[in-house]
């Protein structure tokens, strides 16, 4: 049995996969002060539903895959550790200068961010290594000890160390690490050449400092998660979803927590791709994941999930570069918990502030006073107050209405229902804008893509969004409410290793290159035998980062074999480089020599053959309401059919106005739209 748990801003989602492949899903409110409690709550709900104790259920589990926004939340809210940056003397401003450049050259009002670590916590290490690894100035250990003592006085909780050319000769960085352990025991640190051995000091330093700043927090969090799961009876393996859309062991993640920055949202496109293929055969899809707090959009293009090599926290040039590739996901503050407010000029806004899980929307009756998207949906009759989360939480319609009256309707001179509908329209516009940003702005016509909805709030305005964009198809998988968690079940174990070795095809350093490839491959084999033991299929891919002489940027070229043994193998590599260069840039200089700078090894271990798309165990027995009165902007109140999601037969169609409900989600079928139940269990909606 496997568990996938995704902790979002508002809800924690669980998908349980039994040994025969059957899926069940559960939801519990996220508990921001102690997110592990929310994870355990979902497991309790599953145990209750399955009629066994939580301990018994957990005892049956072999694996738990976890997606978490803990790391990114800490960065965005400024709650990472007090971190110091140790750099080569003479170069204290690596994080200030970044690589320069402005994203909007015409706009000089754009603010520029502070460095990730302030200058007052930046320390210059007396040492210098040259580009060839030779030592130009030896490390002054006394000087380092003095710095470390100052770090203690400054009560620094984490240290990032990035020295120039440590990727060629790591001796000084390693020694600084030893001195930190001796003189500042217990304070975690990150060495740049270990974490991200790549050329160009800013990106390496930025990776290093972000990683170090997350170590205390993520070490504590992941350690707590694992030990509390053990205490609760879980004997299996705990994996965490990575920014790259793979998974790694929680203990390893604690040692390189930078890989957890986009854990969670990175998995939605993996699941979304599977549904788009199964339900429509489309290979281009927009994955729109609407949770309580954020709206995360990603793309599937030609069957591929686009990656970015240069990943920034925040906007390019204006944020902080992670130095690692990532699945391309755009997030905005819009979701079920987004708060509606009216500005001084009388304009209605929705978000980016969210009521989150605490205090939650007004209708939860848990202390929220500001109206949210969820409150508007209840007032409009879209969400049944008696059947939210399958009836687990009774909603207070009157409190929601009163909040909308006082915060929105009164200020705008609208009726209650007009105001609630306006809140939904503004939320829809925000989401449409985010989708346009990743489609239209990149020259992709959204009318040619299918929308796959995910997240508990996706069904409220999926039809409205599709109509605004002109999309012909909307897919709402049965598992939509836990789309990222479902994606986590599909994920593979992944790791990447890299090294820097400069050489040229004029006088190629066969020995050096093959020794490095041997080292990288043995790390991959270690991974396969360690974390990857027992996986179904393993794959190692070796690539070189190469360029023409004095070209500025390298391109990645996969190697045909595991080594470059002789002139013949080198000739193959050269041929592949020219071909790759030509396909990327339309020209190749077949006479020219080639320089290689970096070498990478990717290892992937597949854990499962396939994952079911449909969910078992309909929470049957519920009486279908039949009809209820529902408000739409164009029609006012109309009698809409109310249909039970799990009760729909394959091939059955429902025409709007209608509401399709399940325990986890409410799908609004506007007048004129039509929904059909697909064999995968999904709803395929023609908006």
């Amino acid at each position: 049995m496997r568990f996938a748990v995704d902790t979002g801003g508002t809800f924690t989602d669980l998908v349980v996969e039994s040994d025969d492949g059957g899926l069940r899903m559960y939801k519990a409110p996220t508990t921001p002060a102690d997110p592990v409690a929310g994870v355990l709550d979902t497991l309790s709900r599953a145990a209750e539903d399955l009629g066994e104790s939580r301990e018994t259920l957990l005892g049956r589990g072999e694996m738990l895959i976890h997606g978490t926004t803990h790391a990114i939340n800490a960065i965005v809210t400024g709650n990472t550790a007090r971190t110091a940056f140790l750099t080569t003397r003479g170069h204290p401003d690596v994080l200030v200068f970044r690589e320069g450049g402005r994203i909007e050259p015409f706009n000089f009002t754009v603010p520029y961010p502070e460095p990730y670590v302030p200058r007052s916590l930046t320390y210059e290490v007396p040492e210098r290594v040259a580009y060839d690894g030779s030592v130009m100035e030896p490390l002054d250990e006394q000087g380092v000890v003095a710095i470390v003592e100052e770090l203690a006085r400054q009560e620094v909780a984490a240290v990032g160390v990035c020295l120039l050319w440590s990727i060629v000769n790591p001796a000084h960085e390693l020694r600084v690490g030893e001195l930190l352990e001796r003189h500042l025991p217990g304070v975690p640190y990150t060495l740049s050449h270990v974490l991200n051995p790549s050329l160009r000091e800013y990106r390496r330093a930025s990776s290093t400092c972000i990683d170090a700043s997350l170590k205390p927090l993520m070490g504590h969090y992941l350690g707590g998660l694992e030990s509390r799961l053990r205490d609760a009876g879980f004997g299996g393996r705990v994996l965490v979803v990575t920014t790259q859309g793979g998974a790694m062991d929680a203990a390893d993640m604690a040692h390189a927590p930078i890989h957890s920055i986009n854990s969670g949202p990175a998995m939605a496109p993996v699941a979304g791709r599977a549904y788009a293929e199964a339900d429509t055969g489309a290979d281009t899809a927009i994955i729109a994941d609407t949770g309580g707090t954020t709206f995360d959009v990603s793309l599937v293009r030609g069957g591929r999930i686009p990656w970015t090599r240069e990943t920034w926290i925040g906007q390019p040039y204006r944020g902080h570069m992670t130095g690692f590739p990532a699945v391309d996901v755009k997030s905005i503050g819009a979701g079920g918990g987004s708060i509606a407010w009216v500005d001084e000029g009388g304009l209605l806004h929705v978000g980016p502030k969210s009521a989150g899980a605490v205090p939650g929307p007004v209708c939860y009756g848990t202390g929220g006073t500001e109206p949210t998207v969820t409150d508007a949906s209840v007032v409009l009759g879209w969400i049944d107050p008696a059947y939210f989360l399958g009836g687990a939480m009774a909603l207070e319609t009157e409190a929601a209405a009163a909040a909308i009256e006082s915060h929105v309707a009164g200020k705008l001179g609208l009726s209650l229902h007009e105001a609630a509908a306006a809140i939904m329209s503004v939320a829809t516009e925000n989401m449409v804008h985010a989708i346009e940003d990743i489609t239209v702005n990149q020259g992709i016509d959204p009318r040619e893509a299918a929308i796959v909805g995910g997240g508990g709030a996706a069904g409220l305005n999926a039809v409205a969004i599709a109509r605004r964009l002109g999309c012909a198809q909307v897919i709402l998988p049965e598992v939509a409410a836990a789309l990222s968690a479902h994606g986590a079940l599909i994920s593979e174990l992944r790791a990447e290793y890299s090294g820097t070795l400069y050489t040229s095809t004029n006088g190629f350093d066969f020995n050096g290159v093959n020794a490095l490839l041997e080292e990288l491959e043995s790390k991959c084999r270690g991974f396969i035998e360690g974390p990857g033991a027992g996986s179904l299929e393993q794959e190692i891919e070796l690539t070189a980062e190469a360029r023409y002489p004095s070209q500025i940027w390298e391109i990645e070229v996969p190697l045909r074999g595991r080594r470059i043994e002789d002139e013949n193998a080198l000739a193959h590599f050269v041929e592949d480089f020219h071909k790759t260069h030509e396909s990327l840039f339309t020209f190749a200089d077949s006479e020219s020599s080639i320089e290689t700078v970096g070498w990478r090894a990717n290892v992937r271990c597949r854990l499962r053959d396939g994952v079911n798309l449909s969910v078992d165990g309909a929470d049957g027995g519920r009486e279908i309401a039949g009809h209820r009165s529902v408000y739409f902007t164009d029609t006012g109140f109309v009698e809409a059919r109310v249909v039970h999601f799990e009760g729909m037969e394959t091939g059955e169609t429902v025409e709007g106005p209608a509401i399709i409900e399940s325990s986890f989600t409410t799908v609004v079928i506007d007048p004129g739209a039509k929904a059909e139940r697909r064999p995968s269990g999904s709803l395929l909606i023609t908006p």
């Binding site: 003479g90 170069h91 320069g100 000091e201 940027w553 020209f587 200089d589």
Partner: protein, 562 residues
């Protein structure tokens, strides 16, 4: 052609507009990522644009503003020399002559017609600053040039490719006139690739929408941007506004400052800039052919009318310039023009400075931005020549609400830093120091951005070095009661123990063991420094941006009583 706006649905217009921007960006990525010279990547000194058959900008890749508009006169010259009906599929045209519409000789432009069903539907163009195009010094930006003939090879509008066939005669001739032919050809190939990518993608767009519909959309997009720009200009108070700034010198007569004067008139949806009063053309290479002044004016216009207006040729229609013939801004042949970048930047700065009176909340104090350009030339151990360029940025000006940004390129250029590790991998130079220079930001209620110090040590060989600085003698002015930023400065420490000051412009030879220390200027401050919040001054002191002495004397900050 009569067009009815209603025939274009808003989604199609938006999709095509973004698609055009996407194509330009794809061309730009091809140029930057596949180019060979550091100046292209780190300086982003290359750009790509799409043009209508009439020669108006359709889309431009966002890199450095001065390039964009400078392609306009080049495209027009090429259209005159090669009329549309004579163009053939597979043609590529080349030119760089400043006196025929170019900029300076290192900037070589390529233009390629895009065909659909046998007709030209658009033009795909790009411009790359080549690391070396010959002339009297490596890098082809001699600060001591007195004639254009010393600056490199001049290329009139010619066919680089004729119906798909490369003009080998021309290529051979060019290869013989540049110092590093492999690098030159590498960058030229990257340009051909970028134009080809642009043409291919535009061709796909034409197949999809049809030629007539597509050109109709193009015209509609340009008209809309023009209307939005005129409306935005209408929101600026009408009137004539003036500003004067100075360049340090022309590199020949070192003690003579060069005046740039502008009178900007706003009214009737127009922006007119009259440069009467600007210095006569100079002996040295700071002269700027007209394309540069247009680039500066377009930059200022776009910066002030708001970032929401789609940038295309429609935005540029309401601009009118008066450039007196024989002046710095409209020189007569054969005046040298290679060092015109600082001139363009000061023109942009002067136009914005003038409009500060009209829009005090929108225009920041003067910024330094990119004000130092250097070129290192040498022989490698294997005898091959090598040339590398490097640009240094200073601080940006403070604005009413924000401090200036430390060490960032501003206004009409957009240069990246060369990472230390990238520089040291390519050159026998060690960068001993690269850090913010304390106290260089102009004091003010909002502080100007800091400049930085860069210290180079020559590790080997003999390096021909040319240095073109600015703001050594004329610091960035503050706004209101804000103070000026610190000026630039530089010192050359010779291996033999002697010292030389770097006088804004310099051409010399560096030897092993020589050290060069350059301080980039700071941006101007905004408002009275005594009104700066004490907590912000304390932060600046703690972060080493302001010295305790300056905090006390200029900001009136007293840490003892706090």
């Amino acid at each position: 052609m009569e067009r009815d706006s209603a025939e274009f649905d808003p989604i199609t217009l938006e999709v095509v507009r973004h698609k055009l921007d996407g194509i330009a960006n794809e061309m730009e990525v091809t140029l930057l990522k596949s180019s060979f010279s550091p100046i292209v990547k780190e300086g982003q000194d290359a750009s790509a644009s799409l043009f209508t058959v009439e020669g108006e900008t359709l889309a431009q890749a966002i890199a450095i503003p001065i390039h964009m508009a400078t392609l306009i006169p080049i495209v027009q010259t090429i259209r005159r020399r090669f009329p549309l009906h004579e163009m053939r599929a597979g043609d590529i045209y080349i030119m760089n002559d400043p006196y025929l519409g170019g900029t300076h000789l290192p900037d070589i432009a390529l233009v390629m017609p895009v065909f659909h069903e046998g007709k030209v539907v658009a033009l795909s163009a790009c411009l790359t600053h080549h690391q070396d195009v010959g002339g009297m010094t490596p890098g082809s930006v001699p600060t001591n040039a007195t004639e254009i003939f010393q600056e490199g090879v001049r290329i009139p509008p010619l066919k680089l490719r004729d119906a798909g066939r490369m003009n080998e005669t021309l290529v051979d001739l060019l290869r013989r006139n540049v110092r590093v032919p492999e690098m030159f050809m590498g960058d030229l190939n990257a340009q051909v690739a970028a134009c080809t990518v642009g043409a291919r993608r535009l061709g796909e767009l034409a197949s999809r929408y049809g030629r007539n519909h597509l050109t109709g959309i193009f015209a509609e997009l340009l008209d809309r941007s023009e209307a939005m720009t005129r409306a935005a200009l209408g929101r600026i108070p009408r009137g004539t506004y003036r500003y004067v700034d100075h360049l340090d010198n022309d590199g020949i007569e070192l003690d003579r400052r060069i005046r740039i004067e502008v009178a900007v008139t706003v009214g009737d949806g127009m922006l007119s800039c009259d440069f009467t009063g600007t210095a006569d053309q100079v002996k040295g290479p700071m002269n700027c052919v007209p394309s540069g002044s247009y680039a500066a004016a377009y930059f200022a216009l776009r910066a002030l009318t708001g970032e929401t207006i789609p940038t295309n040729g429609g935005c540029f229609r309401p601009v009118e310039l008066t450039l007196p013939e024989g002046s710095l801004l409209n020189p007569v042949e054969p005046a040298p023009v290679n060092a015109r970048t600082p001139t363009i930047k000061l023109i942009a700065n002067a136009i914005l400075g003038a409009l500060r009176d009209a829009l005090p909340q929108k225009v920041p104090a003067d910024g330094a931005g990119l004000m130092v350009t250097q070129a290192f030339g040498m022989k490698r151990a294997d005898g091959a020549s090598f040339v590398a360029g490097e640009m240094l940025a200073g601080g940006s000006g403070a604005s009413e609400r924000r401090d200036g940004i430390d060490t960032i390129d501003t206004d009409a250029t957009n240069c990246m830093n060369l990472p230390v590790e990238a520089l040291e991998m390519d050159l026998p130079i060690r960068l001993r120091r690269f850090e913010l220079a304390r106290d260089t930001g102009g004091a003010g209620h909002r502080r100007g951005g800091l400049g930085s110090v860069r210290e180079y040590e020559i590790l080997d060989g003999e390096i021909t070095y040319s240095h073109r600085g600015e703001r050594y003698f004329q610091p960035c002015a503050g706004a209101g009661s804000g103070k000026a930023g610190a000026p630039a400065s530089g010192t050359l420490y010779r291996a033999d123990g002697s010292e030389e000051a770097v006088p804004s412009k310099l051409a010399t030879v560096l030897q092993k063991g020589d050290r060069l220390v350059l301080v980039a200027p700071g941006g101007g401050g905004f408002g009275d420094p005594r009104e700066r919040e004490p907590a912000l001054v304390a932060d600046d002191v703690r972060n080493g941006k302001v010295s305790p002495e300056m905090a006390r004397d200029i900001y009136g900050y007293d840490p003892v009583t706090r």
